[in-house]
């Protein structure tokens, strides 16, 4: 579903080119559960943003679902994000003045889905993440675990093909982190492709496949269960 071919991302800093990604090749199939790990500055976030159609690569081709999205303009990329990709952030990014329901319904607003349908679908999504009775609560009235559930409900509301999670458990305690991962994995089990960027070996180990990044390149591809606590130097 995802094919990255010779992807490079270059930033100019003080006239000097800085390579965030260099000549990166990878294929990710439909329904896969992949973790991306690597030390700070290894290019994890840049890669996630490229895959999430938030950044256009400087070089190379990015085939998403058979289309070369690296050639898409801003409008077309927005459209891909709107319909095919769901985002989960470490710091939630909930709109504080909207209720849980309002936050979940937000992507449908920009997609032009009528209000009545939005209500029903958002409520269903909240039911699915176990927050049926929290629909009217604002983010600051919810626990951090509940907030991340709202974010997940929002990410899947448009029924995307791909779910991207950037440190989904980074701001959570162990217990709610565990619950969130279980929720995400249940979504993956239903066929949703899932990419998780993480620092946490415990999280990464759960994935089918782990991609290890360093200096903007993939240095290692291993299976999740192969990852042991001994692999810590990678993080």
């Amino acid at each position: 579903m995802i094919a990255l071919q010779h992807i490079a991302k270059v930033y100019e800093v003080g006239g000097q080119p800085i390579y965030a990604l260099r000549d990166l090749n990878e294929d990710i199939g439909s329904g896969e559960y992949v973790a991306i790990v690597g030390p700070s500055g290894s290019g994890k976030s840049t890669l996630l943003n490229v895959i999430g159609c938030l950044l256009r690569p400087s070089k190379g081709a990015y085939l998403f679902n058979g289309e070369d999205v690296s050639q898409f303009d801003d409008q077309a990329l927005s459209h891909v994000r709107q319909h095919q990709i769901g985002f989960i952030f470490q710091s939630f990014h909930l709109v504080p003045r909207l209720t849980a329901l309002g936050n979940v319904a937000l992507p449908m607003v920009f997609a032009g889905i009528p209000s009545s349908e939005r209500q029903i679908r958002a409520q269903e999504a909240l039911d699915a993440v176990g927050l049926s009775d929290r629909a009217d609560h604002r983010p600051n009235q919810l626990s951090v675990g509940q907030r991340q559930r709202v974010v997940i409900a929002r990410a899947i509301i448009m029924q995307p093909l791909l779910l991207l999670a950037d440190e989904p458990t980074g701001n959570l305690d162990t217990h709610s982190g565990q619950q969130i991962m279980e929720l995400l994995e249940s979504l993956n089990a239903k066929g949703l492709t899932m990419l998780v960027v993480t620092h946490d070996p415990k999280v990464a180990r759960r994935a089918n496949r782990v991609i290890v990044l360093a200096d903007g390149q993939i240095v290692k591809r291993i299976k999740g269960e192969e990852l042991t606590s001994g692999s810590a130097p990678f993080f």
Partner: protein
């Protein structure tokens, strides 16, 4: 994204920061309110002044001795090459389309009756005066028609004059003395009130020939000509000018002022004054708009991560732009509406405090004020909204 969605989303943001929203829209409200109030006073005064003049009828023109081009007071400097005479007035009455001609001479004289006396304006006019000036007779009759040159010792009193001299008694038939001459009272005018501070009721009307003899005048102060319809104004003015130039041996030593022209210039002056005041008040609208720009700018800065999130969810730059424009317009329209209320309330309060002040709220200015408010909002929103769409979503999402 429908308009309703836009309004709901932007409204949520406005509502979330109530205090700063209220302060921002208050700026616009004060500006709009001031403009509404000033136009109300300006328009009110304009209508008041115009009404004062139109009560004499609009299809009249005045001829004064002396050549002046301004609105001022022609002939105040005195003597001219050729006098404006009763014969001139008589000649003018034969112009086709002219309904009536009123030659007027005026002086100040002491009027005495039954031991009481007052110094008032004595106006020498003719029988046509009530028709031309739209004055009504309250009691008795007005001066008799007839030969302009014949002096008849009859007088008509202004209502205030009558009250001062006779109280509640019937003055008809009574003999009064005006500047020493004996006159018989034959009528009393209806009250007309004051026009621009000049009391029309405190006067005495006598035949023009008597007035000229009494005050030893050899020329008229003014000749008023009433014509049938507004369409013939140019023709009548042309005829009047030609006849008088011919009679005055080729010199144009008089001025013709049509009521219409005078009303027009008065209207113009009042409009300019109102416009100037409104313009000055409009400065506060500019300042109010600056307030909205500031607040919107701050709001965009504060909501960086929100904008990043919306972009990540697939919101188009156009949609982000619209959200902030709608927020800005919302503030200014609410401000405008509040301003309209404040202005009207102010106008209403003014009529209570100063009942004499003419105040008139013109609906077209209310609509205009709201349109200006919407325009202000649009303009104020552009800068901040452009800032919002220039935000890089990747950076915005990481800005914490």
């Amino acid at each position: 994204m429908t308009v309703m969605d836009l309004i709901r989303f932007a409204g949520g943001a406005v509502w979330a920061h109530r205090l700063r929203s209220v302060l921002s829209l208050l700026g616009i409200a004060i500006g709009v309110g001031a403009v509404i109030l000033l136009t109300a006073i300006g328009e009110g005064t304009r209508y008041f002044v115009l009404a004062q003049f139109t009560q004499f009828g609009t299809n009249i023109l005045a001829i004064n001795p002396g050549k002046t081009k301004t609105l001022g007071m022609p002939g105040v400097l005195g003597g001219t090459t050729h006098k404006l005479t009763l014969e001139d007035a008589d000649a003018l009455s034969r112009i086709p389309g002219v309904e009536a001609v009123v030659p007027m001479a005026m002086g100040m004289g002491r009027v005495e009756a039954e031991g009481r006396g007052r110094s008032v304006n004595v106006l020498g006019v003719t029988a046509a005066m009530p028709t031309v000036w739209r004055f009504a007779i309250g009691q008795g009759e007005f001066l008799p028609a007839g030969d302009l040159n014949r002096a008849t010792s009859v007088a008509v009193l202004g209502p205030k004059m009558k009250r001062e001299l006779f109280g509640d008694r019937n003055p008809l038939g009574a003999i009064i003395r005006i500047a020493g001459y004996r006159f018989r009272v034959i009528g009393v005018m209806e009250p007309k009130g004051q026009v621009l501070g000049y009391d029309l009721d405190d006067a005495v009307y006598v035949p023009v020939a008597n007035a000229m003899r009494m005050f030893n005048l050899d020329e008229l102060m003014e000749v008023d000509v009433a014509y049938q319809s507004a369409t013939m104004v140019d023709r009548v003015v042309g005829a009047v000018r030609q006849i008088l130039i011919d009679r005055h041996h080729g010199t144009e030593d008089f001025s013709i002022t049509t009521q219409a022209a005078m009303l027009e210039s008065l209207d113009e002056i009042m409009r300019i004054v109102t416009l100037a005041a409104v313009g000055i008040a409009g400065i506060s609208l500019v300042v109010g708009a600056l307030g909205i720009v500031t607040m919107m700018w701050i709001s965009v800065g504060e909501r960086m991560s929100e904008i990043g999130l919306l972009r990540a969810m697939g919101a188009l730059p156009r949609q982000i732009f619209l959200i902030f424009i709608v927020e800005s317009v919302m503030l200014s329209v609410l401000g405008g509406a509040l301003g309209v209320c404040l202005g009207m309330l102010g106008a209403f309060a003014l009529t209570l405090v100063l009942p004499g002040l003419p105040v008139f709220v013109d609906e077209q200015y209310l609509v205009l004020a709201l349109l200006v408010a919407i325009g202000t909002g649009l303009l104020s929103g552009v800068g901040p909204a452009r800032r919002a769409i220039r935000i890089d979503p990747v950076e915005a999402l990481h800005a914490e």
